[in-house]
Subunit: 613 residues, 2 copies
């Protein structure tokens, strides 16, 4: 008849979490400290785990797990599910390390540690205290793309730009630092990346005039080791005389020269996408976003280094090479999508390649050691703003896209409606990451097939307020559909197969050694697809639309596949924020209005497996 | 490149919904009006449907569908899922009529019509406009126990006590009436019942001094045909000289005589449970709740007709018989739980029985034609507030429970802590309905095994404010667990088997002709159990804790089983409302505090089926 006090349960739980995470040695000692000591390299080298946001430093999202095959995937079924208790858009993916899964919700960014031995029992949860004033400062829903792991800590980049490290065993705060202020428009949405003793983090706020940066924080205490901006003088952007673009030194003041006056200070180039790392070259890769205001005529010049692929030394932050994909952006084609590091054979030569499917509809292949441009192809046939990139090294426009003026907002002045532009501002692909399967040699890319009308207008800057200056409408591309999931060869530009979807495919892909690729649809379907043929092997309607990224792990000798549902993100902003004006949500609401006939809000994890124990 | 306007999608949708609901005849005409014309009797007679909240008028929750059997239930798997977009407690169950599923969320009480031909595509949705001020007026979470169907309309009893009829084909409002005001503490949570041209509705507000009533509304226009209160003069409670209790006329002023002064006017007896109906006897059955304030010394007398089983003529509202189970309630043992109508063999005689598992821990068997008391047994061995009911017809206490004064709050005055009382205020069973399988002859009852300490104190009445007057603590019953799912014979009082659960079993049961019974747990598990042996055949962790009631239907020749997840209700009020004081939530928060280690908020439907198409 005695009451069970909650403190009893908590104490038991803490010990349990420690034991689970630590393995036998720590279980014997029973302390959280030891439990938390498994190094990231060790965790990541075990294919049973999913220890980094993109699975590995190469961001390949290719797992060597192979229990689920093209022959048996049709037998998949949900194994267990978990509600996050939070509505709005669930981008990103959980981590799995040992017997524990870690996931983070959209604002308020609750982090859960779930016990894989007990159908996702909650080992601990942590909800930061954040001012809800940050919500309207998030351009494209209150998303978060995942936590990172390292040094026994779970690293969370909160919406309000606080970065916090939680003890992985207990959820207790190890350290917490404020990187920038949402009051100035700077928010946090991306998944950090841990490299050695450094936590790499970026910033969101391209629609609020925030000068983007990447920072390296000391994982032991959160102190900033270096901070590299996207725009500004060389000592802010961490460029030196060795920094090259397309094989040539960029020279001094490479950014400042491409901006009018001080506009660079509110020039965007934010860094809210994915980070990759090549340990051998010791280079960190990421892309920068749009040059803030969507009225291009307000910011003449190339607006460097917005829309740029960066290769930096993670120890110093110094840029080794850069490549600007979309100089003087007129479409909001942020360059932040993932950089997949793959060793490809090109013209019979093995090349350390970087493959990037950009918002602008072009797939780029570069030599990631040198930044040399190897191939550029449209991966969405709808792309019409450019005829392609000038690949002639002796051309003055070498490496620049040839712009079709008809589809270039601003080219005929402002307050003009530029119609029929493809892709739309949210790009042929947005943050939803692709996967690379070295066995098929193909990239599996969830894409948007969406076009737009775009009317730029002058806008004044006020700190912390939207700094957009364009009205948009989005709508399905040719053929009347909005989503294509493609198997693509970026070297040849060949689409091997594609699957059309009514709405954008805004969920990230997973490739596996079983010959099965996975992705989720905005209607909420988790799909398993034959990597070779594109045949849909399995399809399950999860509770809400999927904008999360499929991941896989092995537990107790069984392969699981997990996906976060929770419609939202830019494509689902109408549902997520209750917007109805078709021009709202930066133009997305109209195009995706019919989503309400298929799904509604929710935040759930669904974990799949083959039948049997 | 044309945009698809949302109005185009909507127009197409309306036509589709009409076609789906109507069958060939209406499809030819294509009008929503004809589509909506399938009578309730016809819908309910088709075992493929689930056309009433409790499946049938008998409230047996026994389906004759038998594809899922004890032999194959272990192969069950989720077929599709649906997020409701609403957090907090999801009690109740969907309806299925033809190819359409109808479900309602907790506040704001969104109603969804889902297309069973398309994995739950949303045919229409309706969200009423309600003042959120109603939320704190809901004692035990913002729950709603289901919509009703009749006359081509879906009937919703909103939280704010508006009753609205929606065209089942289109979701358009046919009529809307305000029954009572939440400003006076009166809210709506129960599932209405349609009998002929009448909609039977009740009222919630026992903790706010609301005098309970049942009303019959004209299903064509919502006009009140009659209204019968639980307390007051005979013309308010609709009693006449033929109204009996235990076979004898109750006489004039049967209610008023049992109250001090005007206390009856704020005397509770609310009617938020389930309604049954016997078409042959033309009698409506339901129970009334607690006599408002939980300080019993403030309301001397039997407080009739709170805590009472009512049998009324649905045409006039006149009471045929009544039986008060817990006179002068000292524990909050509301009598609102479902009345299951079953023809039982008792002492060799076939009896038209009414079986009721009351909050007070006693299972009652009455002759539903006469109100004669046939059997009373404890169905939870923990029950200690009574030694049982006096079954001697010649005793002056015939039909009354013998109270154990040690466990009777108020018996030693107020501001005294009465400890170790079983069951707790939320009863050995609350609203979670039982199921009756005529093949096994057993009742399958989800129960609470919870005890309490109870300290009554004086409280003043203010309209619209809580009128409680007691501080409670709840905790597990003997054995340290809080839930028992039992197979019970109410005639003999024998428990044939039971399954213990850490937390209360707050999800309603389903019995099927396949020999499988189903229920859900607060941790979120949907379970299929062998009706004969109690063996758990299948268990699946749904996204959130289950307080909903399992239902089944047949679609395209395949049997499905569906359950709403969404932790909350009284048992889960700590999670649902973010309460942490262990005495909060009318005493429930402390006892259920450990729930946070297992589940979090969410509203989802999970639909199960056997593999294969």
């Amino acid at each position: 008849m005695k009451r069970t006090g909650p403190w009893i349960a908590c104490a038991a739980l803490g010990a349990l979490a420690g034991a689970l995470l630590a393995g036998p040695a720590a279980r014997a000692q029973g302390t959280a400290n030891n439990a938390a000591s498994i190094p990231l390299a060790q965790a990541a080298s075990n294919p049973d785990n999913w220890a980094m946001p993109s699975l590995n430093y190469a961001a390949s999202r290719y797992s060597t797990l192979d229990q689920i095959t093209a022959a048996n995937a049709s037998q998949l079924e949900p194994a267990w599910t978990f509600s996050t208790g939070v509505l709005r858009g669930h981008e990103g993916q959980p981590l799995v390390i040992g017997n524990v899964m870690y996931l983070v919700t959209p604002f308020p960014n609750t982090v859960f540690a779930l016990d894989l031995n007990n159908d996702g029992r909650i080992l601990w949860q942590y909800t930061p205290t954040q001012n809800p004033e940050v919500i309207p400062v998030m351009c494209c829903d209150t998303v978060n793309r995942g936590v990172a792991y390292g040094d026994g800590k779970i690293i969370l980049h909160q919406a309000d730009n606080t970065v916090v490290a939680l003890d992985a065993a207990t959820g207790k705060v190890a350290w917490s630092v404020q990187l920038a202020s949402y009051k100035d428009g700077a928010t946090g949405t991306e998944a950090p990346l841990v490299i050695g003793n450094k936590v790499i983090v970026g910033v969101s706020g391209g629609e609020f005039g925030v000068n983007g940066f990447v920072a390296a924080l000391d994982i032991s205490d959160g102190k900033t080791l270096w901070k590299a901006y996207s725009e500004g003088p060389d000592n802010m952007i961490l460029f030196n005389s060795q920094t090259t673009s397309l094989g040539k030194p960029v020279g001094a003041d490479s950014s400042l020269k491409t901006w009018k006056g001080d506009e660079w200070k509110i020039g965007g180039g934010d860094t809210w996408g994915w980070y990759s790392y090549d340990p051998k070259l010791n280079l960190l890769y990421y892309g920068s976003g749009n040059p803030s205001t969507w009225n291009p005529n307000q910011r003449p010049g190339d607006n460097k280094w917005s829309m740029t692929i960066f290769a930096r030394d993670p120890d110093t932050g110094m840029a080794k090479w850069v490549y600007q994909m979309t100089p003087h952006d007129q479409w909001d084609y942020d360059g932040v999508n993932e950089m997949i590091l793959a060793d490809l054979t090109i013209n019979g030569q093995q090349v350390p390649a970087l493959v990037h499917f950009d918002r602008n509809g072009l797939a780029y292949v570069l030599n990631r050691a040198t930044g040399a441009l190897l191939a550029v192809h449209k991966y969405d046939p709808a792309v019409n703003w450019t005829t392609g990139v000038d690949m002639n090294p002796s051309s003055p426009n070498y490496g620049r896209p040839t712009v079709v003026q008809q589809y270039a907002p601003g080219s005929r002045g402002v307050n003009v409606n530029y119609t029929g532009i493809c892709p739309a501002a949210l790009g042929s692909k947005d943050e939803q990451p692709a996967a690379y399967d070295p066995e098929t040699g193909l990239f599996y890319v969830p894409t948007n097939h969406v076009c737009m009308d775009y009317e730029p207008y002058p806008v004044a800057y006020t700190a912390g307020q939207p700094y957009v200056g364009a009205t948009l409408s989005m709508y399905p591309g040719p053929g009347g559909y909005m989503g294509r999931f493609i198997a693509f060869d970026p070297v040849t530009g060949k689409t091997v197969w594609d699957i059309h979807d009514q709405f954008s495919d805004w969920g990230g892909a997973l490739a596996t050694s079983g010959g099965v690729v996975f992705y989720g649809t905005l209607k909420g379907y988790l799909r398993a697809v034959d990597a070779k043929t594109g045949k849909i092997l399995y399809s399950f309607k999860t509770p809400s639309g999927i904008i999360g990224n499929v991941m896989t792990y092995m537990h107790d000798g069984k392969q699981y596949v997990a996906i976060l549902s929770g419609v939202g993100g830019w494509a689902g902003i109408g549902l997520a924020a209750g917007l109805t004006d078709p021009h709202a949500g930066l133009g997305a609401v109209g195009g995706y209005a019919a989503l309400k006939d298929y799904t509604t809000l929710g935040g759930q994890l669904t974990v799949f497996a083959l039948p049997g124990s």
